[in-house]
Amino acid sequence: MSDRQQVSIYSGEEEVLSAVVELRAAGFRILEVFAPYAVHGLERAAGLRRSRIGLITVTAATIGSLAFYFFQDWVAAISWPVNIGGKPYSSAPAWIPVVFETGVLAAGLATVLALFVRSRLYPGKRARLIDPRVTDDRFAVVLEIPDSGFDVERAREICARHGAESVEETAVPESGKKPRKPHVSSLEVWR
C-alpha cells in the first residue's frame, strides 16, 4: 500500500464523469471520488457495487411485523383474553394496521442505522475533507499512487484534459485507518 495519492479537482459533473471513466480505462486505481451531490452513473463509472442495504430493510420489516403480530395475538388471546365488543380473542384482521406500521418502523430505523453504521456516520464525527469545496461545487478524484508504475504525467494529462482545475500529489492522510479487509476496495480509506 502506498502512502501517496493524486488528487484532481473538477468543477462540473460531466468533467468528473468523463475523467473517471478514462482514468479507470487507463488502468489507474481510483481511491475515492468526492462529490457535492449524487451524480448519476458516477458510482458505477468509479466501479462501485450497488449497496445491499435493502436486505436489511426486508429483514427488519419482516421481524417488526411478525413480532407485533404475535405480540398482539399474545396480548389479546393469551396474556389476558378479554371480551371486547363480542369480538373473538384472536381478531387477526384488527392486528393488520399495527403489524404494517411496526414493519415499516422497524425497516426504516434498521435501514438508516445500517447506512450510518456501514458508512461510519455518527453525530459529532469530524469530517475528513479532501477539499473544503467538495461539499459545495467541486468534485475531487483521488488516485492511488502505487509505489511503482504510476505514470504521473499520463494521469495529470488525463485529468487536465477532462478539465481538472488542479492536480496534486499528496500524502495519504496518516490517521486514515488501514483497511481491515484488504480485498475490499481501497475507498475504505476515506470513510
Binding site: 451531490y37 448519476h40 449497496s51 426504516g108 467538495v134
Partner: protein, 498 residues
C-alpha cells in the same frame, strides 16, 4: 420566458445557476441577520403559539369542559384539527417519496420544505389526540408497556391505538427521511460556515459527511428504500388508518368504506395546497424566485386540480351509496349534512374543495401566483371543513333524535386551533432560518437536467464494461432509470426525454 433559448423544455431552475450559486442562494437566508419580515412573522407565530399553550394549559388544569363538546358530540375541533394537520402532513411525503419514485425532478425545489412541513404538521396533529383526552397526563397508557397490573395491555382493536402506531411511525419515518436528506446539505453548510455555534451544530449533525462516493452510493440506495419501500406505502396507510377512526364505527356518516382512499386523496389535496401556500410565501420572502418557478406552481396546481376531482368523486360516492343503501339513518345523515342545521359547513366544504380548484383548468390562473395563493388558502379552509363536516355533522344527529345536539367552539378551542398554527409556523420559520429550505444537493443534480437526457450515456457504459477489468463488472447492472414518460403522472409533458 424565452423558450427559444431553451430548446428542450422550460428549465426547472431559472437564472442559469451553477452549483456554487445554488449554495450561495440557499445559504444566504441562513447567514447574517434575519430580515425584519422574518422577525415579524416569527413574533406573530410565537405569540400565537403562546396563546395556544396558554389555552391548552388552561384546558388541562380546568378540564376538557372548556371545549364546546357535549355528550352527543364527543369530538369536534380537536379531531378535526388532528385530521386536518395529518392531511397537511401528507404532502411532504408525497412530494418527497412518491414524486421521487416517479422521477419528477421538479420536486427537488420543494421537497425539503414539504418534508419539514410534514414533520411540523404531524407534530401539530399529534398534539390533538393527546390533549383531547380527559386525562392527558395518563396518555402513556395507550402504549403497550409491561406493568404491574396483571399485566394489563392496550386494546389493539381500537382504531385510536392504530393511530398511535401510525402517527408515531409516520413521524419517525418522516423525520428520518427528512434528516437523511439533510445530511449532505448540513455538510455543505458546515463547510461554508467557518465558526460559531451554528457551524458546530451543523458539524455535529452532518455526521462527518465528506461527499465520498462510496457513501453517496449507499446513501442513494437508502434514500430510494425510504422513499419507495417505506414512505410511499406509509403515507397511504397513515391516512387510511386515520380514516378507520371513523370508518370502523357505527355512526351514520362515519361508517363508510370509501373513507381510506377518500381520506388519502383529501390529504394529498390539502397537503399540496398547503405546500403551494407556503412555497409562495417562501419564494417571495426568501427571494427564491429562481428556484420556485412558475413551472413548479403549474405542476402543483394541476395536481391539486386532479385531487380535487378525486375528492369530488368521493363526495358524490358517499351520497350515492347512502341513498342506494336503503339505510334510513345513513340517508338521513347525508341529507342532514347538506340541508340540516349545519349545512353551511357542508357548502363551505363543497365550494372550497370543488368549485375553487376549477380555476386551475386555466393556465393563466395556474401561473398567477396571487390567484394560486388565495385559491390554495380557500382549499385548506375547505379541507378543514371537510373534516369538520364528517366529524361534527355526523355526530350531532345520529340514531336517537332525543340525543341530537349542536356544537359551537369555545374560545379555548379557537385559541388551541390558532396555537397549532403558531406551533407550525414557529417551527417552519425556525427551519427557514437555520436549515436550507431547498435541498441543495438535490437541486444541484438537476440544474442541467433540462439539457440532458435522463439515462446514463450508454457509450460510457460500454467503454466502462470493456475497460474496467479489475472491478466486478459482472455485478454492475444497468441502473435503469425508467424513462419519465413511462410512469409519469403525465402532468409535465415537458419532462419527456428527447
Amino acid at each position: 420566458m424565452d423558450r427559444a433559448a431553451w430548446p428542450l423544455r422550460e428549465p426547472l431552475i431559472a437564472g442559469d445557476k451553477t452549483p456554487g450559486q445554488v449554495t450561495i442562494d440557499v445559504s444566504r437566508p441562513l447567514e447574517g441577520k434575519a430580515t425584519p419580515l422574518w422577525w415579524a412573522a416569527f413574533l406573530v407565530s410565537l405569540v400565537t403559539l403562546g396563546v395556544g399553550i396558554a389555552a391548552v394549559t388552561y384546558q388541562i388544569r380546568v378540564g376538557i369542559g372548556t371545549w364546546g363538546l357535549n355528550r352527543t358530540i364527543g369530538w369536534s375541533f380537536d379531531i378535526t384539527n388532528f385530521v386536518f394537520w395529518v392531511g397537511i402532513g401528507h404532502a411532504g411525503t408525497l412530494i418527497s417519496a412518491i414524486l421521487f419514485l416517479l422521477r419528477q425532478k421538479w420536486r427537488t425545489s420543494v421537497n425539503r420544505a414539504a418534508e419539514a412541513m410534514t414533520l411540523f404538521a404531524v407534530m401539530c396533529a399529534g398534539i390533538f389526540p393527546i390533549i383531547h383526552m380527559g386525562r392527558p397526563w395518563l396518555a402513556f397508557w395507550v402504549l403497550p408497556y409491561p406493568n404491574f397490573r396483571g399485566p394489563l395491555w392496550v386494546n389493539f382493536r381500537s382504531p385510536l391505538l392504530w393511530d398511535v402506531f401510525a402517527i408515531s411511525t409516520y413521524f419517525i419515518i418522516s423525520a428520518i427521511f427528512w434528516y437523511v436528506g439533510l445530511i449532505p446539505d448540513l455538510a455543505t453548510l458546515r463547510d461554508r460556515f467557518k465558526t460559531g455555534v451554528q457551524q458546530r451544530l451543523y458539524s455535529f449533525f452532518s455526521l462527518g459527511w465528506n461527499g465520498s462516493l462510496s457513501v453517496w452510493n449507499r446513501y442513494e440506495t437508502v434514500y430510494l428504500i425510504l422513499a419507495a419501500a417505506l414512505a410511499t406505502p406509509l403515507v397511504l396507510s397513515v391516512h387510511s388508518i386515520v380514516s378507520f377512526d371513523f370508518a370502523t364505527s357505527v355512526v351514520p356518516g362515519w361508517h363508510t368504506t370509501v373513507f381510506p382512499p377518500y381520506f388519502v386523496a383529501g390529504a394529498i389535496f390539502s397537503g399540496m395546497s398547503m405546500v403551494v401556500t407556503l412555497m409562495i410565501i417562501a419564494r417571495k420572502t426568501m427571494r427564491l424566485e429562481d428556484y420556485l418557478t412558475h413551472r413548479h406552481f403549474d405542476i402543483m396546481t394541476k395536481l391539486i386540480l386532479a385531487t380535487s376531482w378525486m375528492v369530488a368523486i368521493a363526495y358524490a360516492t358517499e351520497f350515492f351509496i347512502a341513498l342506494y343503501s336503503g339505510n334510513e339513518y345513513e340517508r338521513f345523515a347525508f341529507l342532514n349534512r347538506a340541508m340540516g342545521p349545519m349545512a353551511w359547513s357542508y357548502w363551505i366544504m363543497v365550494s372550497c374543495n370543488i368549485l375553487v380548484p376549477q380555476i386551475f383548468w386555466f393556465r393563466r390562473f395556474r401561473r398567477t401566483l396571487p390567484v394560486v395563493f388565495v385559491a390554495t388558502i380557500f382549499i385548506n379552509i375547505g379541507m378543514w371543513f371537510e373534516r369538520f363536516v364528517i366529524i361534527t355533522t355526523s355526530l350531532h344527529r345520529d340514531f336517537l333524535p332525543s340525543s341530537w345536539a349542536s356544537y359551537a367552539p369555545t374560545k379555548i378551542e379557537l385559541a388551541t386551533f390558532a396555537g397549532s398554527f403558531g406551533l407550525f409556523f414557529t417551527c417552519f420559520l425556525l427551519f427557514c432560518r437555520f436549515l436550507p429550505v431547498i435541498a441543495m444537493a438535490e437541486i444541484k443534480g438537476v440544474l442541467g437536467s433540462h439539457l440532458r437526457p435522463q439515462t446514463v450515456p450508454i457509450v460510457d457504459e460500454v467503454a466502462l464494461e470493456a475497460t474496467a477489468a479489475r472491478s466486478a463488472t459482472a455485478e454492475l447492472e444497468e441502473v435503469a432509470i425508467p424513462g419519465p414518460g413511462a410512469v409519469s403522472l403525465d402532468l409535465s409533458p415537458e419532462e419527456t426525454s428527447t
